[in-house]
Amino acid sequence: MTDDITTDPTRPSQRMRAGSMVIGKLPWILAALFLIILPVIFPSNSAITIMNQMSITMVFALAYNMLLGQGGMLSFGHAVYMGVGGFACVHLMNVAGFFDYLPLPFLPLFGGLGGMALAIIVGSFSTRSAGTIFAMISLGIGELVAACSVIIVVFFGGEEGVSADRTLGMPFFGIEFLYQREVYYLIAFWLLLSAILMYLFSRTPMGRMANAVRDNPERAEFLGYSSRWVRFYSFVVSGFFAGVAGGLFAINYEILTEENLNLTTSGTILLVTFLGGVGHFFGPIIGTVVFTLVQTVLSLETELWGFYAGLLFLATVMFFPGGIAGLIMMHAPAIRLGKAGRLIMPYLICFVPAFFAVLGVAALIEMVFHVRHASVGDEEMSLYWMTFDSHALLPWVVAVAVTAVALALTRRAAPALRAAWNDANTPEGGSA
């Protein structure tokens, strides 16, 4: 039995017992090793920059999912807690007398405290109820704080933000954090620490009651818990970790701006978390990886990245509301039955053409876009490492043909896949 990290452990049974705690630690040890060797695999600075960005977003997304996934509170303004934590950190970095004696790795703690302080203030009135009231208050607060960021220049620095220099802190065992790689390890450490703490939090009485209140606030009241306070504490803890993410942002980018507070950032984290899957602890992590790649890497390839991202979200929400994590966890029963192997071939037969179909459709979209918007005379376009004339007939024929054939193959393979899926999820010798 694998120790999957879920927020609603549906089959924990024996795992609680002493011996199995070893299994519980294994994923974390693997994650730590993975984080350590990652820069060795991808040594370039830009890769590390993207990994830093991912790690920061992961902490933020996990904090957000404490609220949405575990506490059932939908927030449209969670960026402000990360932002305020980050602003607190850049201001600290600018306080020479203090920062000179503060080793940089401890800074995110203060970011967390900053985010937490704001969460305590806002949470004191916003967590009285969940649902739409909470959501709309969060939207209003988010909008207000974002608007304040350009008005209150003293703290938020107006449009150009507040910048600082991380290397002015006290060297930490001789490390001055001059290089991206050093910063990477700092962030990776905090990512791991925060993730472990957040995971453990979901295993505490508070964490369990957060789930209980999410599912049934009234019942929780009759178990001795005030659902309001349970929500409040979840909210504050989530604010703390969002603030930690803000502190990491301050360290990595050495600047915070209005962008860290605005509704776009808040909306993005909602999408990231949902894309990954709110029902599972590791969902936001997957969501972050996918979204960052779409945003940073795909946007280098095509202007239409936003269009594809939008399609991806719609497809996810319509067909896989459990997000990517939900999609992965769908395979748990098959794996437990030991029949997951039977899915591999049908998957290949179905998804390889499906992959080409997606590429084909994307190619057609890109070609239409090119014909419509490229400058006159610029008739050649590059796609998938090919350069051709978008106004000639042949590329269109090729693209349409590839797409059509791929779609047909996918359709033909689908029934077999469905049958294989049913088979893999049926225990041997009897119906479920």
Partner: protein, 318 residues
């Protein structure tokens, strides 16, 4: 004094425009529980369709056809998108509309490009209706007021005098019981969604020429219409109307009259720190009402949610 009258008219135009959006949204929100984040995107689609059609038929063709197309598109979204997502709960529904808003913006850019399109006021309405103390009131604004009022009266008639209106009203107050009465709820939902988005489309067609038709126009309006219906109270068309006008007038007057925070603080007995530019409170002291005019509705909403969660005219909690 004359300026007050002018401001009242300006605020009325803004408020009625908001109302055309919030009326549809409040119907959708209170019946289906869907926070339709894409509502303003349908408004944008209305403006763009209106523009495209006006190239062939002139403005008036757009005014008639564009809302119909938008309404059909809206009904299609409900039928093939939302209805599927509905079974998963409200959060996925919301994310769906959120993603839809992103997608519609991208599609608009794909088709019409990223620049503002030159969607203009029709020739016949390009004159000054009347002037008050040197402030001209364009005929187009008068036209906007008439259209909005006509739509409001039409809605009122449908909701209070027709059978379908009765069903909708019942669904507003008791969302769960209508199905029990044997009505085809999915069809009602689709119809309401289509009608609501069509209303947004009308707003887009008539607002596009004055407020500009560009891919960011939905985002500018985006969340303010939620604020309107929350302040007005769920399920209340009157609430939506009053809240829209209230927001229209509050923002207009806050922009027109330079109320300064410094005056307020002095009146409260605080002393202005000198020199002001060295003070940590300088930003607070120098705030003026035009600066914060457009965030006042959000403040109002937060206060209302804290002290009266059902909104001004709502019958049930948000």
């Amino acid at each position: 004094m004359e300026l007050i009258f002018v401001n009242l008219i300006d605020g009325l135009v803004t408020g009625l425009l908001l109302f055309m959006l919030s009326a549809g949204l409040t119907l959708i929100f209170s019946m289906m529980g869907v926070l339709n984040f894409a509502h303003a995107s349908f408004y944008m689609l209305g403006a763009y369709f209106g523009y495209q059609i006006s190239l062939y038929t002139g403005f008036w063709g757009g005014l008639v056809l564009a809302p119909i197309i938008v309404g059909v598109a809206g009904a299609g979204v409900e039928r093939y998108g939302l209805r599927r997502v509905h079974q998963y709960g409200h959060v996925p529904e919301l994310i769906f509309t959120f993603g839809l808003a992103l997608l519609i913006e991208e599609i608009v850019q794909f088709i019409w490009g990223k620049n503002q399109v030159s969607y203009g006021i029709p020739e016949v309405l390009q004159f000054t209706a009347f002037s008050i103390a040197g402030n001209s009131i364009p005929a187009y604004k008068v036209f906007m007021i008439f259209i909005s009022v006509a739509i409001f009266l039409g809605l009122l008639y449908v909701l209070t005098r027709t059978r379908i209106g009765m069903i909708i009203q019942a669904a507003l107050s008791y969302p769960k019981t209508v199905e029990a009465l044997g009505h085809n709820v999915p069809l009602v939902f689709m119809g309401v969604f289509g009608a609501g988005t069509a209303l947004a489309g009308v707003a887009g067609v008539i607002a596009g020429p004055v407020l500009g038709t560009f891919p960011g126009m939905a985002f500018v309006l985006g969340s303010i219409i939620f604020v309107t219906i929350v302040i007005g109270g769920l399920g209340s068309l009157w609430g939506a109307l009053i809240a829209s006008l209230l927001i229209g007038w509050i923002t207009t007057f806050a922009k027109s009259y330079n109320l300064e925070m410094a005056d307020l603080l002095t009146a409260l007995g605080f002393e202005k720190p000198e020199p002001i530019w060295d003070s940590a409170w300088r930003d607070l002291w120098t705030v003026t009402s035009p600066q914060i005019a457009d965030i006042l509705p959000y403040m109002l909403m937060v206060l209302i949610l804290i002290f009266r969660p059902r909104g001004l005219f709502g019958k049930r909690d948000v």
